[in-house]
Amino acid sequence: MSKGIQNKKYLKGIRSGDKSAFEQVYLTYYDLLYHLSLQYLGEKSIAEEVVQDAFLKLWEVRTELKPDSNIKNYLYTITKNNCLSQLRKTHLHKTPVTDARFLEMQFNYEALVSIPDNVIEFEELKAKIEASIDSLPDDLRQVFIMNRFEDLKYKEIADKLNLSPKTIEARMSKALNRLRTELKDYLPLIILISSIIDQ
């Protein structure tokens, strides 16, 4: 709800090309757009270009934005589409692309196509995934999150939680084993989400 209000707050500034409004919007949405692009394009410089492009497009259409325009969604869909065309470009590369590299592009392309079309559905999906991580028992979940999503190494987690790295390692492997025994992959959410999507 507050995000909707925020959207309106900056909309005025964005429409008039106000630097601080653009800066706020930029700082707010950069991470999502950049890391989404990086996941699929693999190279930082290209991902950065894609993001700049999205914001530049926003700049270009700024005066045409309406009171109900969703800036986040606009940036999201532009970024998603730009990534898709970047992936298609590797297909047309002049130097001969090995079959495996072509396959990689193809897999990435199909995965990206299947990502929600709009940012609202994207957020809903993310919420579902988070809910299933929440269903893990506390000690396992804590370690799992710190390692997978905060990108902390075992030693760093150990320091933070005041435990020995060996304990962390044990907890991680317990969490992964649990997930592995229950399911085919280490992310239990796959099964959970798959069942929701397939319904």
Partner: protein, 324 residues
């Protein structure tokens, strides 16, 4: 298999591991579908969770903002030909002539210099104007009623009123540039490998030292004269770009970093050292506002070219920048 899959998703798999993995999926369509779904969900989580530092985002924002302003500024630069503002510091020339009548020519050489970090403008009696870029110098070699002859070391922009009775000649880096009522830019720093001149409006002849005609330029022509092998090249250029420095921009078009560094040294009064000489040959194209701090420019150069640099304060208070 799980281990490999984690590596693929995290981007830490080797090329060989990736190739083997993707190929193995080809034959198994269920596994392929599964992986694609997995990849999609993983990317949703990563995109939502990963963060970059605020300072990095702020820098990227500034780069973005500069681009938005540049698209505005292009429209302004294109009107440069109609540039009419006059900020001239009257040259002492008038007084010089009256004070020195009768003295031997060799003692009449007048020099106008600009300091590092500044730009000078001056104006001749007839209203012709010259803008002098940082660390540049013009010597007035001779002046008479039918000829004005200057020597340029550095970079200057000339806006010369046409006068049939009077030739206006600039000597720079071994060339003689004869104006015929024109707006043109000349760049000839001693350390540059070439002398360049760009014609905005009018007509100029370029002669060699011996007075033989090298070329005649039309508006929009940009001439490069390579000192070491005496070669000449003329291309077309958006003249407004070559004169970006007058409006307060650094404009580098496919320019070597070594030469860019010299401009920065002059403007910011710093010293730039290349630890790796090869880096000085990297070419760069870009526009920076001169009001940017040296830190900002270095950051942008390092960001786009992957350079690393270090700033030290040396004993005499001058900043020293080391580029790796």
């Amino acid at each position: 298999m799980n281990n490999i899959r984690s590596k693929i998703l995290n981007g830490t798999a080797t090329r060989e591991e990736k190739d083997a993995f993707y190929e193995s999926l080809q034959s198994d369509s269920a596994a392929k579908k599964d992986f694609i779904k997995h990849k999609m969900l993983h990317s949703v989580m990563q995109a939502s969770a990963l963060r970059t530092s605020k300072s990095h985002k702020e820098k990227k924002f500034e780069q973005f903002w500069i681009k938005t302003q540049k698209s505005k500024r292009k429209k302004v630069l294109l009107q440069f030909a109609k540039y009419a503002a006059v900020f001239a510091i009257a040259l002492v020339l008038g007084r010089f002539i009256s004070d020195n009548i009768g003295q031997p020519a060799s003692q009449q050489i007048q020099v106008v210099q600009s300091q590092a970090g500044s730009m000078n403008t001056f104006q001749f009696i007839d209203g012709s104007k010259v803008w002098l870029n940082a660390a540049s110098e013009i010597q007035i070699l001779s002046q008479s009623s039918n000829e004005v002859r200057l020597a340029l070391n550095g970079e200057a922009y000339f806006d010369i009123l046409h006068n049939e009775q009077r030739s206006f000649i600039v000597e720079a880096g071994g060339l003689q540039i004869i104006d015929k009522g024109t707006k043109f830019n000349i760049r000839s720093y001693p350390d540059d490998k070439k002398v360049t001149t760009t014609l905005i409006e009018g007509d100029i002849d370029v002669l060699n030292k011996q007075g033989q005609l090298f070329a005649n330029l039309n508006p929009g022509d940009h001439l490069s004269y390579y000192k070491d092998n005496n070669q000449l090249k003329i291309d077309s250029i958006d003249a407004s770009v070559a004169n970006g420095w007058i409006d307060g921009d650094f404009v580098f078009i496919n320019q070597e970093l070594g030469s860019i560094a010299k401009e920065l040294e002059n403007w910011y009064n710093v010293r730039i050292i290349f630890n790796d000489k090869a880096v000085a040959n990297v070419r760069f194209t870009g526009v920076f506002n001169r009001s940017s701090g040296i830190n900002q420019i270095l950051y942008m150069l390092s960001f786009s070219e992957g350079l690393k640099y270090q700033i030290n304060e040396s004993k005499n208070g001058k900043k020293e920048i080391i580029i790796n």
